[in-house]
Amino acid sequence: MTVALAVPDVIVARAQAGDEAALEALYRAFETPVYNLVRRILRRPEDAEDVLQETFLEVVRNIKQYRGEGYLWGWIRRIATTKALMRIRREQVRETESLDEEPGKPGMHVAANLDLERAFDRLSETSRAVVWLHDVEGYTHEEIADQMGKTVSFSKSQLARAHARLRRMLDEGAQA
């Protein structure tokens, strides 16, 4: 999903002054891009909804600190990404990492009509985050590593492994 949002400066200025209608206008402008981003990263829809809410609470509380450097979407996106990645870290114990690496597990059979979206959904949250941030949002490996608190090599190898898994799942889906 390509986001090309331009919010009028006057709306941003009014939001910075605490005007509620302007704050709501910002929410309406960015709720879908933010939700889409965090939902693609996080496996559970309810987690994505929580991160959407947390993101906008932070946006509203800190909008005065936005200095107009760079796109507003870039600033909001960074907040959303950080919160989604924090949630992955916090719940890593619960996360069933790399479902696709456990082909023998019941229910792990790849359905015949598996398409890219479903294959992507089967990746671990960490892999999803790296693929989405790099391939769709255009983050560099350095930026991903910085936000995840990992190395550039980690980001690169996660991306390569995720694509190898996607390739394998799509092949299996096509053959089944």
Partner: protein, 194 residues
């Protein structure tokens, strides 16, 4: 024959591939096809439809904000209430101020505190939470409230320690800010006809 790994293909896509991978891809049809599949997969990912939030979260965000703002105002109101009480007590205690320069300072201090308390009462008429403010007016009011809060903090910390002349200056500064705040609220109330 050795082929490109997914790391090699990713590096080729990023223009960071090894010399071997760059040479190999020019001659290997299988790896060229694999690279093309990778490009297509990324393009398909970018073209996935946007996912929309299933519920409107704005009411929850708005309610949280209102609760936070009320908390802040209650804190501020407690401070100003305490200061108004202090002003009243001071007025009672200073019925017979000492004479000379010291007496003059006491009188000025008493007057500033009384003015401040009166302005606090005036402010209540403009229903702090209820009015709709324009962006500019909201910014002015928020800044004045912030400055008054900072000043109240200074007064609360130093009222016992600073000299009377400095105390008078601080209280007079507070009166000035309160006057501006009342004016900002009153102007807005007149403007919207409330």
């Amino acid at each position: 024959m050795m082929h490109c790994t997914m790391e090699d293909l990713g590096a080729l896509r990023a223009g960071e591939a090894s010399v071997w991978a760059r040479r190999h891809i020019t001659t290997c049809a299988a790896c060229q096809a694999e690279l093309e599949v990778l490009y297509q997969r990324v393009a398909q990912l970018k073209a996935l439809p946007a996912l929309h939030p299933p519920r409107d979260r704005w009411p929850t965000i708005q309610a949280t904000l209102h609760a936070e703002r009320s908390r802040r105002r209650r804190t501020w109101g407690t401070w100003t209430g305490s200061l108004a009480l202090a002003a009243t007590i001071a007025a009672v205690l200073l019925v017979q101020p000492p004479g000379g320069e010291q007496g003059k300072l006491h009188a000025e201090l008493n007057q500033a505190k009384q003015q401040s308390a009166t302005l606090e009462d005036s402010l209540q008429q403009f229903d702090i939470d209820g009015r709709v403010l324009s962006g500019h007016a909201a910014a002015v009011v928020a800044e004045l409230e912030d400055r008054i809060s900072v000043l109240d903090g200074t007064l609360a910390q130093h009222e016992q320690n600073v000299r009377d002349a400095e105390l008078v200056k601080l209280w007079q500064e507070r009166v000035g800010l309160m006057r501006e705040l009342v004016n900002a609220r009153a102007t807005r109330a007149r403007y919207v006809g409330l």
